[in-house]
């Protein structure tokens, strides 16, 4: 598939622009700080003692400051939902960038790890130099107490060293538990270790308090490199020195040194307060338990939960709402949490039930819900033509879309919706069979049959069953066995919608989303641009 420039720009342009900006900011900050310590007059003596290790460690520290402040911002999900929802950012392109907030957070996190490695290595070299090149001339500059002090002792007895060790350990724990494998299998490990971030930030703000690195305050009176009272100009031995010049090069006074004020709090406190406020707001919002209205068990290990919550407001495309107050979720029972949850909601029928079982008070667990948060699927209504591709349980974000259309399809910009749902087994289609048929019938009644194009695929070709119910005829007549052929499908959609921008929304396994992404970036003879939007679970 040939990549077309226009499609690529539409899909990837914004992301790569932000990436370039971020890389540029990091590079500029690194170089600026490096040159400051390399050439700055106030660091002349310190540089002579420590060498390049000083410049590299300070430069990487400033990059770390930037990234530690940026890493929190994409995780303020309520704020991002607000920005996305109120259309404060009116361009759809910019709103699509909000979809990539988690990727940006990961990028900042990875750069924090890399630059921490650089920073720690450079400071280890610094500590060795502090110990080995202990300065008798400028005792205020030293971190070591005497020449040749064991560097490990220096690290453990200064605030900077000790806090640095703790920071690295916390970062190590957070980093190793956030790999894809651990998140997939044991999400709690990831969640609880990642919440150590607050300890990380508190220690980070204290990290510079010890004042290990000092700068010279009196550069005019004592130009660095000037001759001191007990020195003679031994450097230029071959040349003759005028008496006057010798006098000028004498120092006016002794060099004075002061440590830097900790600067990290300037960078970090804003985003940290914002994020803490956001978490507090989410906690308050979710402190009201929901009332569970119905629990329905569907085939293929899915349960549907309908709930009621006070003051619950969801925009179209965020949550399936029947009337304005009840909303529902579908969840697939895969791991231990969902299994335990299902056991609490639907107790197993006891074997010793009498013929007339006593009506037992159903004791549901107390359930707290956080949200709703914005998602890429909200944009379905802002295109003229949209394609929704769902794989298995990935259909749940689109259930909201279907509910919203069922409520009133005339109010949106959307003129046509292609709905492709691929499942492994036929029974899975029962999860939303009623909803799909209801929408289909409604649109036929209101004389817009071309609005909703449904295509269902069953990928497992053996053990064929069939949906025998008469009321599900619209589904059985649109059902095909075997995997969909995406290129042909896109060609067909392209031909019917020439020179338009079509929004493609995908929620499903990686294989499908990769194929669709490549197809959206490839060139089209029909002149249609496909904009790819992905919704992911973890």
């Amino acid at each position: 598939m040939v990549v077309s420039l226009r499609s690529w720009l539409a899909n990837e342009g914004g992301k790569h622009f932000v990436l370039m900006l971020w890389l540029g900011a990091n590079t500029w900050l690194f170089l600026k700080t490096f040159l400051l310590y390399f050439t700055g007059q106030q660091y002349h003596y310190l540089y002579k003692m420590l060498g390049l290790g000083l410049c590299i460690s300070r430069a990487s520290a400033s990059v770390l400051n930037l990234n530690c402040s940026l890493v929190l911002l994409p995780m303020c999900r309520s704020l991002l939902t607000f920005v996305r929802g109120t259309h404060t950012v009116s361009s759809r392109e910019t709103r699509r960038l909000l979809d990539k907030s988690k990727t940006f957070h990961v990028a900042c996190g990875v750069s924090i790890c890399i630059f921490s490695v650089v920073h720690v290595s450079a400071h280890l070299v610094n500590v060795v130099n502090f110990s080995g090149r202990y300065s008798e001339d400028f005792p205020a500059l030293n971190l070591a107490r005497y020449k040749g002090e064991d560097p490990k002792l220096i690290i453990l007895t200064t605030i900077s060293g000790l806090t640095g060790v703790l920071l690295v350990l916390i970062l190590f724990l957070m980093f190793t538990s956030s790999s894809y494998c651990v998140r997939l299998s044991n999400y709690e490990i990831f969640w609880y270790t990642h919440n150590l971030f607050i300890v990380f930030y508190i220690i980070l703000m204290v990290h510079m308090v010890g004042g290990a690195l000092k700068y010279q305050t009196n550069i005019e009176a004592h130009p660095p490199g000037c001759l001191r009272a007990n020195q003679s100009s031994t450097e230029q031995q071959g040349e003759e020195l005028e008496q006057g010049e010798d006098e000028e090069r004498r120092c006016g006074e002794e060099a004075h040194f002061l440590p830097h004020y900790p600067q990290t709090w300037l960078w970090v406190s804003g985003p940290l307060c914002l994020y803490c406020a956001e978490r507090f707001y989410r906690y308050i919002r979710s402190s009201d338990p929901v009332t569970i209205v119905t629990v329905i068990r569907h085939p293929c290990d899915v349960i549907e939960l309908r709930m009621l919550k006070k003051n619950f407001k969801a925009r179209p495309g965020q949550c399936p709402t029947e009337n304005k107050e009840t909303f529902g979720i579908h969840l697939r029972v895969v791991g231990d949490w969902t299994e335990r949850f299902t056991q609490l909601l639907l107790p197993e029928p006891r074997m010793d039930m009498e013929i007339l079982p006593m009506v037992q008070q159903r004791r549901y667990p107390k359930l707290y819900i956080d949200g709703p948060f914005g998602s890429p699927s909200e944009e379905v209504f802002n295109y003229d033509v949209s394609v929704c591709v769902a794989g298995g349980i990935g259909v749940t974000p689109f259930a909201c879309v279907l509910h919203a259309l069922l409520d009133g399809w005339t109010g949106f910009r959307l003129q046509r919706l292609y709905f492709v749902w691929v499942c492994r087994e036929l029974q899975s289609f029962y999860w939303f069979a009623e909803l799909l048929c209801a929408l289909h019938h409604k649109l036929w009644q209101e004389n817009r049959p071309d609005y909703f194009n449904l295509k269902l695929y069953v990928s497992q070709t053996d053990n064929m069953q069939s949906m025998s119910e008469e009321k599900y005829r619209p589904l059985t007549s649109r059902l095909q066995v075997g995997r969909p052929r995406w290129k042909l499908l896109f060609d067909e959609i392209g031909k019917t919608n020439k020179h338009k921008r079509v929004g493609v929304f995908c929620c499903g396994p990686k294989g499908i989303s990769r194929t669709l992404h490549k197809l959206c970036n490839s060139s089209r003879s029909s002149g249609t641009t496909f904009e790819f939007n992905k919704e992911s679970f973890s």
Binding site: L124, V128, K152, F172, L173, N186, V334
Partner: protein, 184 residues
């Protein structure tokens, strides 16, 4: 906290610690710092830990995600049998390996990280986990379905030869009813 598999997290940590130990060892040897012999040891220890921890274990429940190209490592690690299966052994091994790293500045970090992962391996071992190799599933060879099933051994039931013989003179009488009804 549900059924958490601690070994998976310990594995990620041990692999990262092995890399940190290796890096610290390389820096120590390259800079020829004091105590560089410990750094040389750290290089060897780091490589060994990385090789041991590269193959992921199979999960007790759910799908296991392999690391790229881990099959040959799986075979090597599997061949040590109970030494590598048991997590008590692994935890003690890591605890023992990490100790010499604490004597040199550049390898201290690797030592501490490996120590943490050995603690988590002990937690995993107490909870009864063990290492299972991820082996490729043998393809269940579907036997080629015989297109021709066993041909019938017996001839179909027929009336005695006298009735069967074609009696050209009397065709009406020659017709007979099949004893077994022939369905459409």
């Amino acid at each position: 906290m549900g059924k958490i598999e601690w070994a998976m997290w310990a594995n990620e940590q041990a692999l990262a610690s092995g890399l940190i130990l290796l890096t610290g060892g390389i820096v120590g040897v390259a800079g020829q710092f004091r105590g560089w012999q410990f750094a040389a040891y750290a290089i060897v220890a780091g490589v060994f830990v990385c090789l041991l921890e590269y193959p992921r274990s199979k999960r007790a429940k759910g799908t296991s995600v392999e690391r790229t190209g881990q099959y040959c490592f799986t075979v090597c690690v599997k061949s040590f049998g109970p030494l590598t299966r048991n997590y008590y052994v692994r935890g003690s091994l890591h605890a023992a390996i990490c100790v010499p790293g604490g004597f040199m500045l550049s390898t201290v970090l690797g030592c501490v990280c490996l120590g943490i992962s050995s603690i988590i391996y002990f937690v995993a071992a107490i909870r009864g986990e063990h290492w299972e190799p991820i082996l490729p599933r043998k393809e269940i060879s579907r036997e080629v379905q015989d297109t021709v099933k066993n041909p019938p051994q017996n001839p179909p039931p027929r009336p005695p030869p006298e009735t069967r013989r074609k009696r050209v003179d009397d065709l009406e009488e020659a017709a007979y009813d099949n004893p077994i009804p022939v369905s459409e």
